[in-house]
């Protein structure tokens, strides 16, 4: 288990024990974190699991997957340097303590 913290747009923080191998998106859904819709179920086809990786974690969560950027451009809230689709962020020991910020809008 590793810990992931989700920060709501209003600043509210929730820290979750995440299972290695799940995606950050699955972790959010399984724990009822608000603000991650994941309508397409992780197929990189909807951009409703958009999140911003905390600046402190920049460069430590790997590169965007092929096709992820095209979909991020279709996200409801602005795409930033730190934008990721949380369905493409795999939970591993390397990201223990990861902080992600949720956007104002998902759909």
């Amino acid at each position: 288990m590793v810990q992931i913290t989700f920060v709501q747009p209003d600043g509210n923080r929730t820290t979750i024990d995440a299972a290695i191998g799940d995606s950050v998106m699955q972790t959010a859904l399984a724990n009822g974190v608000d603000g991650i819709f994941a309508e397409c179920g992780g197929a990189m086809m909807c951009a409703t699991c958009h999140c911003y990786v905390d600046e402190a974690w920049a460069g430590r969560t790997g590169k965007r997957e092929d096709g992820e950027e095209d979909m991020l451009e279709c996200a409801a809230s602005e795409m930033r340097e730190t934008s990721r689709l949380s369905c493409q962020l795999k939970v591993s020991q390397d990201i223990d303590g990861l902080v992600v910020h949720l956007p104002e809008e998902q759909a």
């Binding site: 309508e39 197929a43 909807c46 279709c74």
Partner: protein, 391 residues
């Protein structure tokens, strides 16, 4: 190991008339059931429909015997998987993105909505389905696709003909003769419009596709515009009609929606309650099992999202229209790689533009005889009429 139970007596006519009591019974007694009349195994539970749609490697969209191919004269992205599907889909996705909705479509669609509302008489009973829901959906789609020149009537006619052709499982000649003629009309229009979209790039799907750095073949551009015509009018039309019906038959909810401005919640509940697209097909790529039931290779599964959206495991009193129910995700837009490309734009146009404008324009409109509204459809479903007194 168990063979799926068979529902020998069920007919497509039964499902077209009112599938909901049938699905309710199936969920309780035979959630995975073979229906010979449809030549498919039905999946009626939310967990099963979602699982199948999210696993394209085991459950393919590629149906080698689909009448859709014949109707569209092409193998369309709806029936493709993997990278091939992604490439075609992403070719037009920018036109439907929130950014373009904000920059191009919001203002235009508000103007279109106002214009179509202006045409409606006050103090009379009007069939909103034919006077508003269909035409406004057609006009909005024409602009989104870059087919401004096409009339509402042509857009609606082509759409219905393509749908009829795609649903022509008996491969009768007549529907295909009509779809061939419609394809010829659409191709001629597209040929005429292509030079303009090349010369004056814009954010319509047509223009975005022809001006891409690495465009998909013209044949696929045309096929995919046709998919959008076939699949982009009846859904917003039926969604709008369904939601208006739901609100007018539940005045206390309408009042609360007004008070809170909860039009988007009304939208989500309407499409959960009666999903405009009720069912989809997937093919098992090898021998599989779902919850202990054998799914033989090659069999076509029908994921019934209409049923999933009322699944007792997820929804309390799911048969009822209740805007203010506990929020639980629904599957009206599907799930997995084929999740509706128009989901975002549908929310904006129907939920944020059409609904509030309609109810603001006619604050005292009423559905005097709800029993006169005729509901129909198995694959696609909605009211066929909506006689509303406009006041």
């Amino acid at each position: 190991m168990a063979v799926a139970p068979v529902d020998e007596t069920l007919t497509l006519a039964d499902l077209t008339r009112d599938p909901y009591p049938i699905y309710r019974r199936m969920r309780a007694e035979t959630p995975i059931v073979r229906v010979p009349a449809a030549n498919r195994i039905f999946l009626t539970k939310a967990k099963h429909t979602k699982m199948v749609k999210e696993d394209p490697e085991l459950y393919s969209s590629d149906d080698p015997v689909t009448p859709m191919q014949r109707a569209f004269q092409a193998h369309t992205l709806m029936r493709k998987d993997g990278v091939e599907h992604r490439r075609e889909r992403m070719a037009m996705q920018p036109s439907f993105s929130p950014k373009v909705v904000k920059s191009d479509w919001s203002t235009l669609y508000t103007d279109i909505a106002r214009d179509y509302l202006d045409r409606l008489p006050r103090g009379e009973t009007v069939d909103l389905f034919t006077a508003l829901c269909g035409p406004v959906a057609a006009r909005i789609l024409a602009h989104m696709l870059g087919l401004d020149e096409a009339s509402d009537a042509d857009m609606m006619r082509w759409s219905q003909i393509l749908i009829d052709g795609a649903g022509n499982f008996g491969f009768d000649e007549e529907p295909f003769a009509r779809s061939d003629a419609a394809n010829a009309e659409m191709n001629a229009l597209f040929d005429k419009l292509a030079p303009r979209h090349r010369a004056e790039p814009n954010n319509s799907a047509f223009s975005v596709m022809v001006n891409a750095r690495d465009p998909i073949p013209t044949s696929q551009i045309y096929a995919n515009i046709k998919i959008a015509i076939g699949g982009g009018i009846n859904e917003p039309r039926d969604a709008l009609a369904t939601i208006v019906y739901g609100l007018l038959t539940n005045p206390e909810q309408l009042e609360e929606v007004r008070r809170q401005g909860a039009w988007l919640d009304a939208f989500e509940e309407g499409i959960r309650w009666v999903a405009p697209i009720q069912a989809s097909s997937r093919r098992a790529v090898r021998d599989l099992q779902i919850d202990g039931i054998d799914i033989p290779e090659g069999v076509t599964l029908m994921t019934i999202q209409a049923s999933a959206n009322r699944d007792e495991e997820l929804y309390e009193d799911g048969e009822a229209f209740n805007v203010f129910r506990k929020k639980v995700p629904h599957q009206a837009f599907g799930s997995g790689p084929h999740h509706c490309a128009g989901a975002h734009i549908a929310r904006r146009t129907v939920g944020e533009i059409m609904l509030p404008m309609l109810f603001e324009r006619f604050p005292d409109m009423s559905l005097e005889r709800p029993e006169d509204v005729v509901w129909s459809g198995f694959g696609f479903r909605g009211p066929l009429n909506l006689p509303v007194r406009l006041n």
